[in-house]
């Protein structure tokens, strides 16, 4: 996979992940072009399209579009399920995930994505294992928070 973009129906970019080195200018150009192209498509159309020399796989969940760019030999259907599994992970973590979760907890969305996909390839497909990793991190945070609170309590 070359990159993944999450954007809203209004065309606002919510999350971007690039697995190939590109300049900021190129990233912006690609984003603009793709958001336009995908938003212009009608609901019943197929989820794949050729774009430049890449294949775009996208799916809409409520107000958010999840859009992946894959290379010629990559499998479209399994990419569609990568998207779905990512949404499931977000959903399980946040509980009925919605666009605002991703806006305001963007760092969690990135951390979950990093556990699931790394370097553009699927790293771990088990929902349990991915969430376990994030949970462990959260536990560390909790521990830290407790210490922190104690401190402030003491002072």
């Amino acid at each position: 996979m070359q990159f993944m973009l999450l954007f809203s129906r209004q065309g606002k970019l919510r999350l971007q992940k690039w697995y190939v080195p590109l300049s900021d200018k190129e990233k912006k150009k690609i984003t603009r072009e793709l958001v336009q192209t995908v938003l212009a498509r009608k609901p019943k159309m197929c989820s794949f399209l050729e774009w430049r020399d890449l294949k775009i796989v996208y799916k809409r969940y409520a107000s958010l579009y999840f859009c992946c760019a894959i290379e010629d030999q990559d499998n479209e259907l399994i990419t569609l399920e990568i998207i779905h599994r990512y949404v499931e992970l977000l959903d399980k973590y946040f509980g009925s995930v919605c666009e605002l979760d991703i806006i305001f907890n963007f760092e969690k969305a990135y951390f979950i994505l990093d556990e699931f996909l790394l370097g553009g390839e699927v790293q771990e497909t088990s929902k349990k294992n991915v969430l376990k990793a994030i949970e462990q991190a959260d536990l560390l945070q909790e521990v830290k928070k407790v210490i922190f609170k104690n401190k402030s309590f003491v002072t």
Binding site: A62, L100, F106, E107, L118, G119, T125, S126, A137
Partner: protein, 1010 residues
């Protein structure tokens, strides 16, 4: 806080109305609510409890500003900070700003604030640093540029608090730039974390390397990561991250990743118990093995056994790796992908197991689905499509190929658009396999229907692609007519591609060329704007080269031009063709010369400059073809609108043509304005264009193609000389009046003796050839297929060829003998007038040949009819700035298509008698040029291609042979007899064939061998 509630107006602004929608659960109805599964949420008190209800209640509901604040710690606040009330964070809510300007204003204010915090005297504690870095990230993700804060983020990396470290890494991953001082600091922090032996920290560090993937990081860590990957004590999660991290570094800079003894251990990760480790490792191996297939060869059997275990497992066996009842779909797809890097397994047992797997997958496709969820069918079909890809890749199991084709055929009518799309796409590759081409063709009606009825343009495009791929001589007419019909309503975005495809199919599968001409003229009529220069140049080339279609073409364009509104491209084609071949229809009073002229001239004033320039050339050609139009045309040329035209090109043409027509004698006119010689045959520029279109950034590539002069130049790629460089438009050169003459093929009558090493006058003399003259070299190839065809001080051309029946394949090797790069290197195959072989260069040759390097060109040859003159190879390139060019005969002679035939003496004599007409026999008596050695003679005759028949001729000294020449159109039986006379040092050679010219030609060819 107070501030916020005093100006609530800002918060209600239009974008707020979107909040309820944005707050809708992404997976509504599909998953249990979080309340039902609190398992994963005990540790996240921050805002989960309150966000849950957001589905109904906008988080920033205007009537409860205070409550909102309490819950979220301020709007737009990244949640990581939400656990503690913070001051001034309301400024980070530009998301809800009214206008772009207001948002920018607010952001700038916030940025100024953060900047002052970072620059302030008071040292920030880790928490505040994290807070501000996180804010910066948030602002960046809203689409604003961030140019500071990197240092603070780097500081966070060395924090021992996990969340601070994590935010630091996230900032680096998202916002890294190659600031060299920072990179060193970042690398240092990463190094520490990698060495920490804390798996969570190690993973963070590995993720960061994988996310950034820069060369600097590669240099710092490429050597360490393989160690971590194969270390016995690495945690599974670390191994996974290390594998994909290494993959990313390898993709970025392969030279930095050292291969070593770890490679063997990586392959064995395929056997790992942890499925996640296997999933990550397969991706890495798939990438590495492409470069070093042999190092990773052992992965084949491991991958097959892993795949077989997955495919045969029950849907519950793999627990959390089962996805909607499909066992490990991601891993299966990756394993099938890996196997596509290799040919079919050599080991019969492994192969058997694999074929079993593939069959199981195909069988499962027929089983009823275990779930109605689309995820189930997607995962299942993802494996199925990957399996079919593997079957197509192997292209060796006819049975599986046909089954795959049938399966795809079912999908062609599936109600899921996605599946129809993929089936069309996949069938395209299946169409090119000889085993399944016919099976694919049976779906033609469905595909045509898809082209007509699919509502999604991307699916229609796939259908058009598939029609193009399944087209052959048997269905070309149907497919071309369907595509033409589709073109009338096709989306503008794909019209040009369809035009190119129709043009190519029409040319490639034309049985009669009048159909081809009709098709192209139809193209211009239906989609004139999308018919590129390449397409209409091509029809002119073909009409010029084939005299059997010229009259028809002239008649058809004449009729087409009579339409009240015809496309300018039609005027161009019409103008050119009538200028060349208008005389062929001039006998008919309805298309007499004056009628032709006035028809063309009626379009003149509406046309662009380029077309008018072309028409002026047509007019001067008319003066030559039809002297009776001279006065009228001179009148037109003399008109002030021409002679004083503001356009310098038109003016110059008018002046020159007028003078030419008044001063030159009829003979001179006839010579200057002679019919164009045949164009050299070369790879269809349309095909090249289609390939370019398919390439990256199709749009820009197209424009480049138009600018590239060599791709437009149909005159045979003549180097532009200073005198022609100023040509204002490519079409102005069409008639070749101004440019250097094209490298005309030699007239057939000049015979086999003249070989051209033709040198353009503007270049230095070509280097004389070394060794045998090209003519001698060519003759040597009559009886052999491999060797050196040409050699001089610059260039060596080697040939390897093989022929079977009426087909042949020839590899040409061009070696640069110098140490200087050859530029604009372009070898093209040229046909003399009576072309009866078809040569399709299958691959374009690189335009540059480095010093000492060799490039290869492959030609596929099909012999359509018997032919006499060999095709010509013309090679052009620039050596040290000077254009070089040479033309050689390609060693393709009619005898290459000989099939030796064994027969008994009786049969031989019977056939010999049957071919007794005087014109069927050719005989030559000639002096031996080489020592007369029976063994050598035998070898030559066998090399010539005929069978040698023993015990036929009563004189054992004589040689008798028989064979059949295979061409597409017909077979020519040949009998030959060679009688050496050692005393006189003479031979007598007699050939009898069923075709007179073949007898003479073979006799000529063979006689020169002894």
């Amino acid at each position: 806080m107070l501030q916020l509630s005093t100006r609530p107006g800002r918060l209600y602004l239009p974008s707020l109305t979107e909040a309820p929608r944005q707050g809708r659960s992404l997976l509504s109805h599909s998953l249990p609510s979080p309340a039902a599964s609190p398992l994963f949420h005990p540790r996240a008190p921050h805002n989960h409890t309150c966000w849950q209800k957001r589905g109904l209640q906008p988080p920033v509901a205007p009537q409860h500003p205070e409550r909102t604040q309490k819950r979220h710690g301020g709007l737009g606040l990244p949640a990581v900070l939400a656990s503690r009330p913070l001051h001034g964070l309301e400024h980070t809510s530009p998301y809800f700003c009214k206008s772009k300007e207001a948002e920018i204003k607010r952001i700038n204010k916030e940025l100024a604030n953060i900047r002052s915090k970072f620059k302030g005297d008071k040292a920030l504690d880790g928490y505040s640093k994290k807070k501000y870095v996180c804010k910066l990230l948030f602002i960046f993700l809203l689409g604003h540029d961030i140019d500071f804060g990197h240092m603070e983020a780097v500081n966070l990396l060395s924090s021992n608090k996990y969340t601070e470290k994590q935010i630091g890494y996230l900032f680096i991953s998202v916002l890294v730039n190659s600031n060299s001082e920072l990179i060193r600091l970042i690398n240092n922090a990463i190094k520490n974390d990698l060495a920490s032996r804390n798996p969570t920290f190690m993973c963070l560090a590995l993720h960061c390397i994988a996310n950034v993937g820069s060369r600097e990081m590669g240099e710092a860590f490429a050597a360490d990561i393989p160690r971590i990957l194969v270390a016995g004590d690495s945690m599974d999660s670390v191994k996974q991250s290390a594998a994909l991290c290494l993959l990313r570094l390898y993709k970025a800079s392969p030279d930095l990743v050292p291969m070593g003894e770890w490679t063997a251990r990586v392959v064995h990760l395929l056997n790992d118990q942890h499925m996640g480790v296997v999933t990550a490792a397969v991706s890495l191996i798939t990438c590495l093995c492409k470069k070093n297939p042999d190092d990773f060869k052992t992965c084949i059997s491991l991958a097959v056994s892993r795949l077989s275990r997955i495919v045969s497992s029950a849907s519950t066996d793999l627990q959390d790796y089962t996805y909607y009842f499909v066992p490990a779909p991601w891993l299966s797809v990756k394993l099938l992908r890996l196997l596509q890097c290799y040919p079919p397994p050599e080991d019969a047992a492994v192969k058997g197991r694999l074929v079993e797997c593939l069959e199981t997958v195909l069988n499962k496709a027929q089983e009823p689905p275990k779930s109605k969820k689309v995820q189930h069918s997607n995962a299942k079909n993802a494996i199925l499509f990957e399996t079919i890809s593997l079957i197509i890749h192997y292209d060796s199991e006819p049975n599986l190929l046909v089954r795959a084709c049938n399966q795809l055929g079912q999908f062609l009518q599936h109600r899921e658009t996605n599946l129809r799309y993929l089936a069309l796409e996949s069938m395209c590759t299946l169409a090119s396999s000889e085993f399944s081409h016919e099976a694919v063709k049976t779906h033609i009606d469905t595909v045509i229907n898809a082209l007509k009825t699919e509502r999604d343009v991307s699916v229609r495009q796939r259908a058009a692609d598939l029609l193009y791929a399944m087209c052959d001589r048997s269905n070309a007419k149907q497919i071309v007519s369907e595509m033409l019909r589709y073109l009338e309503t096709a989306d503008y975005a794909i019209r040009e591609e369809i035009v190119l495809k129709v043009a190519i199919l029409a040319e490639k599968y034309a049985v009669d060329y009048s159909w081809y001409v009709d098709t192209i003229l139809n193209l211009i009529r239906i989609a004139g704007d999308y018919v590129s220069e390449e397409v209409w140049y091509r029809v002119l080339q073909i009409v010029t080269n084939r005299d059997d279609v010229q009259g028809y073409a002239a008649k058809t364009v004449f009729e087409a031009l009579q339409a009240p509104a015809c496309h300018e491209n039609m005027v161009k084609v019409g103008g050119y063709i009538l200028g060349e071949f208008g005389n062929l229809i001039a006998g008919d009073p309805r298309s007499s010369p004056p009628v032709q002229f006035s028809l063309l001239h009626s379009k003149f004033h509406l046309c662009s400059v380029a077309t008018r320039a072309l028409l002026l050339s047509t007019y001067i050609k008319f003066i030559n073809l039809f002297p009776e139009t001279k006065a009228t045309i001179q009148g037109v040329l003399r008109a002030g609108s021409q002679l004083r035209n503001a356009d310098v090109e038109l003016q110059q043409r008018a002046v020159e043509y007028l003078t030419l027509s008044s001063v030159a004698s009829t003979d001179v006119l006839a010579t200057v304005l002679e019919e164009m010689p045949p164009f050299p045959e070369r790879e269809s520029s349309i095909l090249a264009k289609l390939k370019r279109k398919k390439g990256p950034g199709a749009g820009s590539a197209l424009d480049d193609g138009r600018r590239d002069p060599s791709s437009n130049d149909i005159n045979g790629g003549v180097e532009p000389t200073p005198s022609t460089v100023s040509t204002p438009s490519p079409s102005a050169d069409l008639l070749g009046l101004r440019a250097a003459p094209p490298p005309a093929a030699p007239p057939a009558s000049s015979g086999a003796g003249n070989l051209l090493v033709d040198v353009f006058s503007d270049g230095p003399a070509a280097q004389p050839s070394l060794g045998p003259t090209p003519e001698e070299a060519f003759l040597r190839f009559v009886c052999k297929n491999n060797g050196v065809l040409f050699e001089n001080q610059l260039l060596q051309i080697g040939v390897k060829s093989e022929f079977r029946q009426n087909l042949g394949r020839m590899y040409l090797f061009y070696g640069n003998k110098t140490s200087v790069q050859f530029q604009n290197f372009s070898p093209t195959v040229v046909h003399p007038g009576d072309l009866q072989t078809h040569i399709l260069p299958t691959k374009r040759v690189a335009a540059q040949v480095d010093g000492g390097a060799q490039v290869q060109q492959v030609l596929n040859i099909e012999c359509l009819r018997d032919f006499l003159t060999p095709p010509l190879l013309s090679v052009r390139f620039r050596y040290g700035g000077a254009p070089q060019s040479l033309t050689l005969k390609l060693p393709v002679t009619i005898n290459k298509f000989f099939q030796p035939t064994e027969m008994a003496a009786q049969d031989f004599f019977q056939r010999w008698k049957q071919l007794s007409l005087p014109q069927q026999e050719a005989q030559k008596i000639f002096k031996a040029n080489h020592p007369m050695d029976a063994e050598v003679t035998k070898a030559k005759l066998l090399g010539f291609g005929s069978a040698l028949l023993d015990n036929v001729d009563p004189n054992p000294e004589n040689f008798v042979g028989a064979g059949i020449i295979q061409t597409k159109a017909l077979q020519v039986g040949c009998l030959l007899r060679l009688e050496p006379n050692a005393q006189a040092q003479m031979y007598r050679l007699t050939l009898r064939t069923s075709k007179e010219p073949v007898s003479r030609h073979l006799c000529e060819l063979l006689a020169q061998q002894f």
